[in-house]
């Protein structure tokens, strides 16, 4: 399957979906899924191959090159799979809302441009797909009006700033090396001075940092995720955030070669330590903020920011194990985070629009499958051993500890415990506890929403028990970058200083579970009690007032609250206010009185003459 | 103010007719008055400093067929000497469907006392915001605290009528 055919068909398909939507809604839904199925099949058929194809040179005779290598393959496959699940999920979710053709067209366009970015072989096509991704995301974020407009505006302004920084970086690379194609650049970059390289890294750090929501640049993410429609926020926080990761890996491992990156610049104040520090901060602060959230999707948005911190740690650390840990965490996070967003979306769909955690509860009785999916998603997020989150986190911690940087490992581990707290809060407030009376007649999630959720939960388990599958592909990509791959077998990682074998852990847990289950069935049968028959000191249970969820971690959050003022957000709003005031100030220059205007002309003349007298310009 | 009670007594006597006061004026003074004068008396006393209505209780005088209401007032606001003084304002109302005016406008905390009296003595306080039952689980035709309520008969025909759950197997 050639790359341009894949992209051309994909783009054509999305256009066709839009037009078909005008005729029949059903056909459009099916076509959307078919297009994505085609893309997924196309990408899987490219497994292991690494080929490049120049697309066309119409643009100021810069060649636009498409290339595929195992590393890009992982990203492309994840994007396609998560996109497919999101589109299937949005069949029913979007039906009731308005402008559905626009939604499908934009969704397919976003996925197309992400795959385009991942498959691009040179900076020009990388930038063009990047921009298309930005403005189609902008249009999708502000899809359901109201607060979404402000979220969309915040997103687009930051991403325009980011892409401009990338444009400058890209062109300065062009002036330095004479070409925009990745191979060409990496080939002739060794002559560049370390100061220049650091300048380039900072520029690209801004562009990818904004997309990857690193701490100071993460401000757009929480409002964007909680206001975007759920299927899109699944794609948004599952894979779109990680395009920044792809950029980082491409830049650090592909172009600048990791050895150069690691010992670049001053021993202490270099870009690598900056990235590591920001990665650590990105893990800690959003995790604590997530404890305070009462809106399900905003909580998940903050958790996405936190998990992105792990990936940054993995990538910026530089050893082959940390890279595989970071990439594997990207892959896992894409799966279980989109799963969690779908769960919240299904609940929102059924309770038509309720996202406030304090008004839900006890939905396990009505939506059992969604609960199981949510539980597996949360276990993946925490990193409970049988799920895939565990393996990737273990890899990251192992490198951090063995390579003698315990403080980073401490921050990452503490982040995990914060994750446990806010993910249990998510599960408890939505599914456990008393079922309010108004949700008594709630049906379970529709089939078209259950299928993607079940599929994603299965993948979370399969890759948790058999981490060898993704790790093998990651090893292939590391070979591509010229780094020595990890010693892995089907069940886990075997390294000199400590290894994990998921076989032993899995059998121990499953066998132990079965034995204890038999032990549990000993003795008389349990009687079933209804939620109204709970212990309430003998008094009858008051309906609809017997669910504890408001201020769930209050003793803890009360302690943390004074230290958690959102510095980044205040800074940006102050900046925006400053620009607006400056705008109003400058507008005063045009006073509207012609006398002043004439005066300005004479003033200009005077300045010109003054220049000549003073500097002998001419 | 060596002896506030004495001064108060003649003050009351001058203000209201047909009242009788006794007690040494040092720490307790009982004032009896007609039932119409009670509310005005209460407001007057409140103004003079007796701002705390400790209790409204009721005595069932069966033989002279009267229910005697006792308002116990004490003072926090007034000067030190007056604070030692407790005033018992007594009045009598007929036993058959007893009715009286509510004191809740003057003393807000009178409402639970009045509800209790309503429930246990059957006194209807007109104007009371919420005259609902306070303690009792069951309804009683004669309010239980009245003297003519025969508890033994009640126990005999309510509690003793309930059969034991006998069990052929002789289990207790």
């Amino acid at each position: 399957m050639k790359l341009e055919i894949l992209l051309a068909v994909f783009f054509g398909g999305s256009l066709l979906t839009y037009l078909l939507g005008k005729i029949s809604k059903r056909a459009r839904d099916i076509l959307a899924v078919l297009v994505l199925l085609f893309a997924t099949a196309g990408i899987t058929s490219l497994y292991g191959k690494s080929s490049t194809a120049t697309l066309y040179t119409g643009f100021l005779d810069f060649p636009m090159v498409l290339s595929i290598h195992p590393f890009a393959w992982i990203f492309a496959l994840t994007i396609a799979v998560v996109g497919l699940c999101a589109v299937i999920f949005s069949w029913l979710y979007i039906r009731k809302k308005g402008r559905t053709d626009f939604f499908y067209f934009m969704m397919l366009l976003v996925i197309f441009s992400m795959i385009g970015i991942v498959l691009s072989g040179d900076f020009l096509s990388f930038y063009i797909f990047w921009e298309m991704m930005s403005w189609s995301t902008f249009l999708l974020i502000s899809y359901n009006r109201g607060k979404a407009i402000a979220a969309g505006m915040k997103y687009i302004v930051m991403s325009v700033a980011g892409s401009l920084a990338m444009l400058v970086g890209m062109i300065s690379l062009y002036t330095q090396t004479g070409t925009l194609v990745f191979e060409g650049i990496s080939g002739s970059l060794n002559s560049a001075s370390s100061g220049y390289l650091q300048f380039i890294l900072i520029l690209f750090f801004v562009a990818f940092g904004i997309k990857n929501a690193i701490w100071p640049l993460h401000v757009w993410l929480p409002p964007a995720h909680s206001e975007a429609p759920s299927p899109f926020s699944a794609v948004l926080s599952g894979v779109l955030i990680k395009i920044g990761t792809f950029g980082f890996i491409l830049l650090i491992y592909g172009i600048i070669q990791v050895q150069v990156f690691v010992n670049l610049g001053h021993a202490l104040f270099n870009v690598r330590n900056l990235l590591l520090l920001l990665g650590a901060v990105t893990i800690l602060i959003p995790t604590f903020i997530a404890l305070f959230q009462d809106d399900a999707k905003r909580l998940l948005a903050w958790s996405t920011v936190a998990q992105a911190g792990y990936i940054i740690l993995g990538i910026a650390y530089g050893t082959s194990e940390s890279l595989s840990g970071g990439t594997l965490h990207f892959f896992n996070h894409a799966l279980f985070k989109s799963l969690l967003f779908m769960v919240v979306g299904a609940v929102e769909f059924r309770t038509n629009g309720v996202r406030d955690l304090n008004s839900l509860g006890g939905l396990i009785k009505k939506m059992p499958v969604t609960f199981v999916a949510g539980l597996i998603g949360v276990c993946g997020l925490i990193g409970v051993p049988l799920t895939n989150g565990f393996v990737s986190k273990w890899l990251i911690y192992h490198t951090l500890i063995v390579n003698h940087s315990p403080f980073l490992a401490f921050v990452a581990l503490l982040g995990t415990w914060g994750t446990i707290l806010y993910s249990y809060k998510l599960i408890h407030h939505i599914f456990l506890g008393q079922l309010p009376r108004k949700y008594e007649k709630l049906q379970a999630a529709p089939v078209s929403m259950k299928v993607p959720m079940i599929f994603l939960s299965l993948t979370v388990f399969v890759f948790g028990v058999l981490p060898g599958l993704p790790l093998h592909v990651i090893n292939l990509s590391e070979l591509g970058f010229g780094m020595e791959p990890l010693a892995i077998n089907m069940w886990g990682v075997v390294t000199g200083s400590g290894s994990i074998q998921m076989l032993n852990i899995a059998t121990a847990l499953i066998l132990g579970g079965i034995v204890l289950w038999l032990f549990f069935r000993m003795g008389p049968k349990n009687t079933r009690a209804d939620q109204m028959d709970n212990y309430a000191a003998g008094a009858p249970v008051p309906a609809d007032r017997y669910q504890y969820s408001v201020k769930f971690y209050d003793p803890l959050t009360r302690m943390i609250a004074p230290y958690l003022k959102d510095i980044a957000d205040n800074f940006y709003s102050a900046l925006a206010r400053g620009i607006r005031n400056a705008g109003n100030g400058i507008r005063r220059i045009y006073t509207g009185d012609v006398g002043n205007y004439a005066l300005y002309i004479i003033l200009f003349l005077a300045i010109l003459i003054f220049i000549q007298l003073y500097w002998k310009v001419w | 103010m060596k002896n506030p009670g004495k001064k108060l007594q003649d003050e009351l006597r001058s203000m209201f007719e047909s009242i009788s006061t006794e007690g040494d004026g040092e720490n307790r003074m009982t004032v009896k008055c007609r039932k119409e004068a009670v509310i005005t008396m209460l407001s007057f006393l409140k103004k003079t400093g007796f701002d705390h209505l400790a209790l409204i209780s009721c005595v069932d005088r069966l033989n002279d067929n009267v229910l005697e209401l006792v308002y116990i007032l004490s003072s926090y606001g007034g000067d030190v000497a007056m604070q030692k003084l407790n005033i018992l304002l007594k009045t009598t109302i007929p036993r058959e469907n007893p009715q009286f005016y509510t004191a809740t406008e003057i003393f807000g905390n009178a409402s639970p006392y009045e509800r209790e009296l309503h429930e246990l003595y059957g006194i209807l306080f007109r104007g009371h915001p919420r005259l609902t039952p306070l303690f009792l689980e069951r309804e009683y035709d004669i309010p239980p605290f009245r003297k003519d309520f025969d508890t033994r008969k009640y126990v005999k025909d309510v509690f003793d009528q309930i059969p034991f759950v006998d069990d052929k197997k002789g289990r207790t």
């Binding site: 643009f59 100021l60 308005g98 009006r145 407009i149 444009l167 509207g592 002309i601 000549q612 001419w618 | -």
Partner: protein, 490 residues
Amino acid sequence: MVNPVLFIVVPLGLAFAIPLLKYISKKIIRFVPALAFLFNLVFALRLIPVVMDHPVHVHIGGFIPPMGINLVAGPVGMLFVVLIALVGFLVSVYAFHPVKEKYEDRYHILYMLQLTGATGVVLTGDIFNLFVFFEILCLASYSLVAYLGNRAGIESAVKYLIQGSLGSGLILIGIGLLYGQFGTLNMADIAGRIHSVQPVSVYVPLVLFITGFGVEAALFPLNAWLPDAHSSAPTTISAVLSGIAIEVGLYAVLRVVFTLFGISNMMGFFLVLGVLTLLIGELCAFSQDNIKRMLAFSSIGQIGLLVFAFSLASTQGITGGFFQLASHTLGKALLFLAAGYMITRTGSMEIASFKGMGKTMPFTSLAFTIGAFSMVGLPPFMGFPGKFMILKAALHDGQMLTLILLGFILIATVIEGAYFFRVVQVLYFAGDDLPDRERAPAAFSRLVPIFLFTGLIIVLGIYPSLITDLLDASALELLDRPGFIKSIIP
């Protein structure tokens, strides 16, 4: 191979033929301007390949330079002629629907005069002739701005008149000094002998020319007239003003600075001036809530960017500048036409009143969005290659001053993105599904130009190398001053 003079003569002739044609029937005078500029467009496009290898010289009245007036149709000239003809033709098609019933024939005459003046400025090789055509352009613009006859229109026209005439006065003094100095009016001749005189006496005319033409080219302190003029002019006129008039003013400044007086280290000042205009234009536009004023301020901003590009004084810089100039002309004309068409529907120029226009006028709002995205410089549209080339040139230049100014340009672009996206959001997402106004039948003559502009923007955005060779030739013409002189005075 048509004689370049016709580009001026045909529109001029037809302009003055309109009063006669009016007696035959009132309807056909509406189509005369379109006819004239179609002629110009077709023959200009045919002339371009000829001009590419050697510029065409026309000696009016047979006088050989430096005596008589001569027209120089080089690549730069032809580029502008094509742009003027294209925008003129499409705007006149848009004007088939009469802006106002009264004095319609006067409108068409002035419109054609305005564009003939512009074509003349671009083609002439003689500074006085340059001044004459420049005056025709300005006078026609003053009267057209006041065409609507409402209070705002007249007031801004008067302001524009005062400032314009002050500028023209300065130019005349400059020409006088030069003529006194060199005794000739031919550009090439003056350019040849410019360095033979001690610099101070030549510097004053340079400054006068720059200020004079700067008023029309809307440089920073001189552009106070632009926001009022553009916002109160009728739609077609503000499209032409933003699209052509400012660019022609900029061309005049370029011709003076590059060919007449030659490059000097004035360029540093122009770099700073350009970025200053850009920043001020964008900041003012950011705080506007009237759509036409916002577009006017954004034009000021774009002019600042062009000045920055040209004052890099490198072939890449000037090519990028010309490309960005072309993209700004097309983009701004499209934005003004689309906004104007929407204003006829909403009735008020406030951005807030555009709520939910995405539903009632889908095609126009789509066109406006594409125009906005192209101005901000998003990839598949024409703005992106322009910005790309300017950035490439600036980075290639590599001095510290240029890099710092580059930072400011990026900030300005972000602000520009902010206010354009704000409008796009109002179009599509603001307003909670208010009962959409009935979709009135779109007037065909209004939509055709909008679609053509959009098509051009997309095509040139995807295949920019279609016109880059013309731009390289024009950059060369501007830069090698001696070649220009030798070609005119053998």
